[in-house]
Symmetry: C2
């Protein structure tokens, strides 16, 4: 164990090192950085984190995080309310928003089914998705979960749960990434991209 010249420093390093991906050496560097900066810097830093944790809200409709009861996307009259994109978490929602290709609404599950991590369907926002489907305004649900075993399991579970409703269920295309060379694409992805080929011209918009 490293010895710290100050208990205050040791506490701060312990807290910083508790963040995912931050080791003790990095934590020490960050703590010393804060000491070099003016006191205001650390106060603003701490205040922003506390405000986030204390005052953040979750959208009542899609479970996106937001500052109001309903998020900016769900309350945006310009978006297509008949289309819902199901995502694992907020990061994935932001990634899709940043493509600028989707103008419908979202539904944030809060995870995917993963028995190894002890996450079952009951831990996710699936029943609220069923409720949204039951309301009858939705034409299509797009599943945009990770292309992993857990993602596939969750996709299938949701597909079955939505079966009673008059809702089309689709899944995002899986295939060779733009910019990838065929030579280096893995076989499963390449196989899938051949199976799900589309008439030439359709994707080039």
């Amino acid at each position: 164990m490293r010895k710290y010249p100050s208990l205050l420093l040791e506490n701060a390093v312990n807290e910083l090192a508790s963040l995912p991906g931050v080791g003790r050496r990095t934590a020490l560097r960050l703590a010393l950085y804060m000491l070099r900066r003016e006191e205001d810097y650390t106060e603003k830093f701490a205040a922003a984190l506390l405000a986030l944790r204390r005052d953040i809200k979750y959208c009542k409709v899609c479970h996106n995080i937001c500052d109001e009861d309903v998020c900016g996307i769900c309350s945006d009259a310009g978006r297509d309310r008949s289309l819902i994109c199901v995502v694992e978490n907020i990061k994935e929602m932001m990634a899709i928003e940043n493509t600028g290709q989707f103008k419908g609404l979202y539904h944030v599950l809060g995870g995917i089914i993963s028995p190894i991590d002890g996450v079952g369907p009951g831990d996710l926002e699936i029943s609220s998705l069923e409720q949204r489907a039951a309301e009858g305004y939705i034409n299509e649900v797009i599943l945009a979960l990770s292309a992993t075993m857990e993602g596939d399991t969750t996709n299938f579970y949701i597909y079955r749960k939505l079966a009673p409703f008059n809702v089309a269920v689709s899944i995002i295309a899986r295939g060779v990434s733009i910019g990838d060379e065929i030579e280096y694409a893995d076989e499963i992805t390449l196989g899938r991209s051949i199976q799900h080929r589309v008439p030439f011209g359709i994707t080039e918009n």
Copy 2:
């Protein structure tokens, strides 16, 4: 620019991304991690950083950071008070402490002379080192600065400043790192290690 679904989130990401070595993607991951953890976690986290920044003290003798007016090393009666090791910063002091090879006191300069970064001798704790030397209790000052141009400049500056006092000035050995293969050592280091060779048996303690 990424769009964030919440202003609170955006603020927190901005603050986290202002840390050295933390990008916006990592900052977002850290902010979402805090949202997943209980509220106590963020409160303890923020409190530790604030306490560090507000309550930290600098040792009146050696400028090490500490929780009292004089640090644990300077007030430790078991240490050799005739020997001072000059280091750039607290991290270097901790690294030397962790070797367990040094039982004297330290002197933390708070940087090294670097005209490019606008750091001159007046910005460093050099005059307080002269004062310590002037008190007459010190036999030897060991210079343990980085083996860079800036480190060498600072070493020479301190060496000249300490000349009027009856104090031996030494510098830590530079040579091939333990575990390094001679074949891959750079020529300057290798040359230095030949020049400063020691009688066989002395270093094998």
